[in-house]
């Protein structure tokens, strides 16, 4: 499988890249989704702008109670980062669940987020973390919430010429339990359903519940009804089962050869119950 011919430029700085992108270039990060699409000629960009040589995009750092993940930080660097594991374990768990080791060595945070695959792992975690996406365009930067960033399958708020510069997640407060559980498609590792959960307790009750779901629908979403059911409850096994049953409420589930919509919804409740139980046991 050979992609259509294209021009290739590998700028060293983001400023250079922005000029090239404004001229109609397509950004290439790790390429773990884009290159297979180009080989199948589902994508036929005329000019690839490789962001992989821009050193200023590859970082993971902490500032003012938040973690900043540069666009070209690979999944394996997020998964193995001592900082992420200690301060935002849910994100490390989601990164470690992506694809396989070779994919994680090359695929990037920014690339995955911008690609917005409905079965990707990050969207569940980013929704549960109420993450922010920092977007760089010709006119400067703007920041959007994960809730607003993902619009539809493979569709985000990114305009032509814009790129994801970094993803910002909160440093997890002490006493918060988190878990990411998914049913992977066995060959590709993509989530048939994936559920990311954050739970905090106080005074014998669940004081905070955040539940992100991926794979089920066209975009990763927050299961608000399930969160509301859990918050204020004692977090017993019964409370968890009741909340988990609500994660698919009001959601239009996808159906494909791997799983029917009905089965996906069933799986979502099962995996939600497991992830909430695991998170609550750590809270």
């Amino acid at each position: 499988m050979i992609p259509q011919t294209f021009e290739y430029t590998a700028p060293k700085t983001l400023d250079e890249a922005m000029v090239l992108l404004e001229g109609g270039g397509k950004p290439l990060a790790g390429g773990m989704s884009l290159i297979p699409m180009m080989k199948l000629r589902l994508a036929t960009p005329e000019h690839l702008i490789d962001l992989g040589r821009i050193k200023d995009l590859d970082y993971i750092r902490e500032a003012a109670g938040e973690l900043h993940i540069g666009a070209t930080a690979t999944h394996s660097s997020v998964e193995n980062s001592a900082l992420v594991k200690a301060k935002c374990p849910l994100l490390a768990a989601a990164a470690g669940a992506i694809g396989d080791p070779q994919i994680r060595n090359v695929g990037t945070m920014g690339g995955s987020v911008a690609h917005a695959d409905p079965a990707a792992d990050y969207p569940a975690a980013l929704q549960a973390l109420e993450a922010k996406i920092v977007i760089r365009g010709a006119k400067g930067e703007r920041t959007v919430s994960a809730a607003d960033f993902f619009v539809d399958a493979f569709t985000t708020t990114l305009d032509a010429g814009e790129v994801v510069r970094e993803v910002v997640v909160p440093v997890e407060q002490a006493g918060t339990g988190t878990s990411y559980m998914k049913m992977p498609q066995p060959a590709s590792g993509f989530a048939i359903v994936g559920v990311a959960v954050r739970v905090r307790r106080g005074g014998g009750k669940i004081t905070l519940a955040r539940i992100g779901v991926t794979g089920l629908s066209n975009i990763g979403y927050r299961a608000s009804a399930a969160e509301k059911a859990l918050e204020g409850s004692a977090g017993t096994a019964d409370d968890i089962m009741k909340a988990a049953a609500l994660v698919t409420q009001g959601v239009d589930a996808n159906s494909d050869l791997h799983a029917s919509a009905e089965y996906r919804k069933h799986l979502a409740s099962v995996y939600a119950a497991r992830a909430i139980t695991a998170a609550a046991s750590k809270a």
Partner: protein, 155 residues
């Protein structure tokens, strides 16, 4: 486009088309046919090599992306006619049947021990999630990694 790369310690400076995939460069231009083309959709792992010390699927990377990189393929594992401990372990533990997945599988298994010199069975299986063996000989592959670990193949 002119690129420079080091493969198995030897320098190469080819002029390549941007769309040339790294696996095609290795096999068709450099003549290194050890890494195999299986699925071509980045699922099977038969094309696994190392780029700058990290295992990657060379069917899903353009040669131009490897400009300046240090590449290691299965051909570079044996030193002075002596097999790498992982190759030796595959030999002794019957870690291969038809052999098609073996070059990629050995590279992936080497990468497991590079990060974790004494992995558990689960860690080994997690580490080869990106490599498919259609003979389904996974148990002997796991045994091979354990034997290589016992022989001190990890860094």
């Amino acid at each position: 486009m002119k690129i420079n790369l080091t493969i198995n310690g030897k320098k190469y400076s080819p002029d390549v088309e941007p769309r040339l995939l790294l696996i095609h460069y290795l096999r068709d231009v450099a003549g290194l046919t050890g890494a195999h083309i299986g699925c071509e959709t980045s699922l099977c792992g038969a094309c696994t090599i190392e780029v700058n010390g990290k295992s990657v699927k060379s069917c899903s990377m353009f040669a131009v992306q490897a400009d300046g990189a240090d590449v290691l393929t299965i051909e570079g594992l044996a030193q002075d006619g002596k097999l790498h401990a992982m190759q030796e372990a595959f030999w002794n533990q019957h870690g291969l049947q038809c052999g098609f997945c073996t070059p990629g599988m050995i590279m992936a298994c080497k990468a497991i021990l590079d990060h974790n010199p004494n992995p558990s069975d689960d860690e080994i299986r997690h580490g080869i999630e990106g490599n498919l063996c259609r003979c389904t000989g996974y148990q002997h592959i796991v045994n091979s990694v354990k034997a290589a670990a016992a022989a001190g193949a990890g860094k």
